[in-house]
């Protein structure tokens, strides 16, 4: 007796379809396409990860195809998938109607047990079967990769630039979505973490494994994923996007240099100077320039130390607001934690600190910000650059002169770079615009 031919096959399995609130739309950074645009699994070979809120009971949308030459497939069926390795599809009765291409209408099923709570990822398969009241049929096995997150991801307004937000999945700009690599990374790095603090710490610890590199010309999350890195203006959004993927809200602030023009050629501060190479680098990307370091104070007998060295300079603009460094802040259990994703510092616990409101007109002295200077700034920003006197000599910071025929060469002159840790609040007063 010849074997019975299965009259139905699985054509496509989709998770992030419109209205399936427990499923999280994932975006491909290369194409910009959302996972909800096409099924995560199809018989032609599509195999994409699907993501859910931990503890939820998502629906699954399945399209069937009529087996070639099969007859009698149109009609009423009971279809489901029993628990194989943890997940099962609850059986339900459906009436299938096939179009001229042999494809059924989409049918929604429900996963029988909730997705595991918390953060994680796993692989599962569904062994689909169908009965027509008389006979049972095996429809085949579909294999899937699932991620599950701590809580509903936050809206992209929390981390994306205006241009990056776009129209959103299913044309709904308000619907949260997550870049696919970010979902995979954070679910692996923060697996099992339960509190916002431990989740953020795990993301910081995992960041080097992303392969992202500091000082690549990108300043938003999508551009960073495409380019393989970015500057701090991208990294603080990236960190925020990673936390937001797990439903954790962190703040972001940029600290802009407050370049004050004082008397007799004195100016402070013209730039923040950072010696650390940044994530994924062995040395700073900037070419070497000559620095005059003052590590003991303006009246010290120790001479200024002259170095030609690679360091980053985060330039200000006289009496204006220009460049700066970008950081993230988490408020957890009544405390502020600082995260510097660009340079890979561990979380810094801030005491007596209040996160300044964004302002482009009022610079805030660091001495009013609790232990921000001693716990973070002194360590991360080694020197502050200015036009300052040391032992009677004025070290000027000078930019290239546009009138000079050699304007096209690197003629910027660094003035005095003062070790941040020795800058006292009273006379020097480091201030930043926080935006």
């Amino acid at each position: 007796m010849p074997p019975r031919r299965t009259p139905l096959r699985i054509a496509a399995v989709q998770f992030a379809f419109p209205g399936n609130r427990a499923a999280i739309p994932l975006r491909d950074p290369d194409t910009g396409a959302f996972s909800g645009d096409t099924p995560e699994w199809d018989w032609a070979g599509a195999r994409q990860v699907a993501a859910f809120v931990g503890g939820s009971s998502p629906r699954v949308r399945v399209t069937f195809r009529r087996a070639p030459g099969a007859t009698g497939s149109t009609g009423i069926w009971r279809i489901g998938a029993p628990a194989g390795d943890g997940l099962a599809i609850r059986e339900r009765q459906v009436r299938l109607v096939f179009d001229r291409d042999g494809l059924s209408q989409p049918v929604d099923f429900r996963i029988a047990a909730p997705i595991p709570r918390g953060i994680g990822a796993f692989r599962a398969h569904f062994d689909w079967h169908a009965t027509d009241g008389e006979r049972s049929w095996r429809l085949g096995t579909t294999r899937h990769h699932f991620c599950h997150v701590h809580a509903q991801p936050l809206a992209t307004t929390s981390w994306a630039t205006t241009a990056e937000r776009g129209t959103g999945p299913h044309g709904n700009a308000a619907l949260p979505w997550v870049y696919r690599p970010i979902m995979l990374w954070t679910c692996a790095w923060a697996r099992g973490r339960r509190s916002p603090r431990t989740i953020c710490d795990a993301i910081m610890a995992g960041l080097p494994r992303s392969g992202l590199t500091y000082a690549v010309g990108a300043w938003d999350v999508g551009a960073m994923l495409a380019a393989g890195g970015g500057y701090c203006g991208g990294f603080y959004r990236m960190f925020q996007a990673m936390a937001a993927a797990q439903g954790v809200r962190v703040e972001r602030r940029a600290l802009h240099v407050d370049w004050r023009v004082e008397h007799h050629g004195v100016m402070r501060w013209c730039a923040m100077v950072v010696s650390a190479p940044g994530l994924g680098r062995r040395y700073p990307a900037e070419l070497p320039s000559v620095f005059h370091d003052s590590n003991r104070g303006p009246h010290a007998r120790q001479p200024v130390q002259r170095f030609e060295v690679r360091r980053y300079r985060f330039w200000g603009h006289p009496e204006q607001i220009a460049d700066g460094h970008c950081l993230n802040f988490l408020r957890h259990n009544g405390r502020w934690y600082l995260y510097d994703a660009s340079f890979g510092h561990r979380a810094v616990v801030l005491r007596n600190f209040r996160l300044p409101r964004p302002s482009s007109t009022h610079a805030v002295p660091v001495e009013r910000q609790g232990n921000f200077q001693s716990a973070y700034l002194d360590r991360a920003v080694g020197h502050m650059l200015g036009s300052l006197r040391h032992a009677g000599t004025l070290y000027r910071t000078e930019r290239p002169d546009p009138d000079h025929p050699q304007f096209n060469s690197a003629t910027t002159r660094n003035g005095l770079s003062v070790k941040t840790a020795i800058i006292p609040g009273r006379w020097a007063n480091i201030t930043f615009y926080w935006t």
């Binding site: 630039t161 980053y312 985060f314 964004p358 482009s360 000078e398 930019r399 096209n408 690197a410 935006t435």
Partner: protein, 125 residues
């Protein structure tokens, strides 16, 4: 730096360099971030109709500046956005009423926080 040079330097070279930069009329890698900041510093230091026109052009600039990044570049934002923020703030300081429409447009279409904030703060004054 700049105090002595501001007093003696003509501004035409700075304007010329910035116009070349905005027009893309230079070989790639010709300009560094330092050069841009140097030229903008001169333009923003002295109020004039010519400077205001150039700053308005910077505020509306919708392209990418071809800069050599090896000598450093802006960290917090793309260089175009840093320049936009400087331009907006300078125009607001010179004559906020005259440039209010432009500042409002920049605020409404800003892609980066700082630019939107500078425009908002400028309009609030």
């Amino acid at each position: 730096m700049t105090q002595a040079r501001k007093a003696t330097s003509t501004d035409s070279a700075a304007v010329h360099h910035l116009e070349r930069l905005l027009g893309g009329d230079h070989p790639t890698g010709h300009y560094h971030w330092h050069h841009v900041l140097a030229a903008v510093e001169i333009v923003t230091a002295t109020k004039s109709a010519r400077h205001a026109a150039l700053l308005r052009r910077i505020a509306r600039f919708d392209g990418r500046l071809a800069l050599d990044h090896r000598h450093g570049i802006s960290h917090a934002m793309p260089p175009e956005e840093v320049l936009r923020a400087i331009a907006i703030r300078t125009l607001a300081a010179w004559d906020g009423t005259k440039h209010a429409t432009l500042i409002r447009q920049v605020r409404d279409h800003a892609d980066h926080d700082l630019v939107a904030l500078v425009a908002r703060d400028a309009l609030r004054k």
